[in-house]
Assembly symmetry: C2
Homo-oligomer: 298 residues x 2
Amino acid sequence: MIGFQEQFQLDAAACETVLKQLIATSEGPASQLRDAMEHGLLNGGKRMRASLVLGAARLVSGDMTDTVGALRTAAAIECLHAYSLIHDDLPAMDDADTRRGKPSCHRLFDEATAILAGDALQSMAFDILAADSTHSDAAVRVRLIAQLAQSSGLAGMAGGQMLDLQAEERPFDIAQTKQMQMMKTGALISCAVLSGGIVAGADHALLSAQAAYARHLGLAFQIADDLLDYDGDSVLLGKPAGQDEPRGKAGFVVLLGRKAAAAEARRLIHDANRALAPWQEAAKYMQNLAEFAITRET
Amino acid sequence: MIGFQEQFQLDAAACETVLKQLIATSEGPASQLRDAMEHGLLNGGKRMRASLVLGAARLVSGDMTDTVGALRTAAAIECLHAYSLIHDDLPAMDDADTRRGKPSCHRLFDEATAILAGDALQSMAFDILAADSTHSDAAVRVRLIAQLAQSSGLAGMAGGQMLDLQAEERPFDIAQTKQMQMMKTGALISCAVLSGGIVAGADHALLSAQAAYARHLGLAFQIADDLLDYDGDSVLLGKPAGQDEPRGKAGFVVLLGRKAAAAEARRLIHDANRALAPWQEAAKYMQNLAEFAITRET
């Protein structure tokens, strides 16, 4: 059996290949917009969301997994994620000059181009999911689409980013911070896991377990992010470390303290993995992914 | 038979009601984001795109039209349109302080909120289309979704807006201007007409005719916009008139001259209406809509 690290890298590479193909075949006279979308999409992300989709699909159907469908689903979620990073980096939002050690989209191009690149990457995500090649059954495709739309809108990612911006003005307590993070990053992580399950035809019991896994994982992932921001090395992070706290954001480290935050992340990953325990060996990859989410160095 | 103006107002009012219901039931802790979305969505638009959806659907199925499905489709397209106006008004884009006589979204709220409101309205459009109540057949819903995604992305609206911004730096000739406008406003107008046809089950012949109608209409609509901007009264427009030309935009009036531009719009509407001529009386509303597109005062 292939090891976790190797599988994780294979998944990321496969997703990268599909994203490159998809953006290369996206043509039109607006070449600068295409270039900006490509820059946002192919900037060296870990592809953790893609791996969650692929791992969740394999948990359902193992070697019989429809790789094309799962990869297209993963690619759609990575497009959505890339759009959110481009918009989050804008001057009116987090005002970040760099992202993963490279200039952010609005710095390399300009603000208008970055706004449009995010907009068009969102459209692209839904276009990918709507196509026949993602799944032969249109009913499955609309389920994927509905879930992505809900995860990314007012009640999900965009709403979470709104709350995060407001937290700069009046600091959040721990419950508000959890709610905000469940929306801002948790919703799309849950969407990735559930989309992998849906595209591979998971039954109700497995989808429920995957939902529980994803909910715990999403929060743990964000706590790990806050820990990395607190402890992290900015070269590894590709963005200046320690930038959240001075802006008054109530990260988990500030709210709980460093040690309690780390313990909470560990506890959440324990719960995430327990949710998948009935699937035994088949769930191993997902459990390793959960472990990776809190032990990663970037 | 009910007159055009009356039907047009009924359509706009019905769309308004559905949009109000949809935004009122969109809840979550990010209330400021919801308010900004509502402001962008319910700011007194003419609902011409909604009327195109409804008219195109009635052209297929007359009194038997599934009003709920057609209205939800219309609402989705109005959400997409509202998002594009919010983002177009941003300081990095057209930097507009007002829209239809009211403060633009980023002026009433702030820039970050306006970016997120546009983002979340885009997600909302796809969420509406993906729901069962839009059409009982999931295959029809994914067709609507694919078309909306393609009309709004790189090869459509977002790409057109990118080209429009670039035209400020190096003026476009007439062919480039047409291409840009076909993408920027034409793509969503075509999407509205075709979506009405698709949701009502139009056959291939009617969809082709509707596509031709929409293509001509979209361009005529934009020429009328340029004429209004050139001649128009800023109180009626709800935005400062004559603002395009000084920024170096090669509008149709500047490129063709006032008289030739008006003649071209008239010719295009003639062609649009001829495409629907075989449908005789049933096409009357769509033909009146086309006439309205170039004779409106705002």
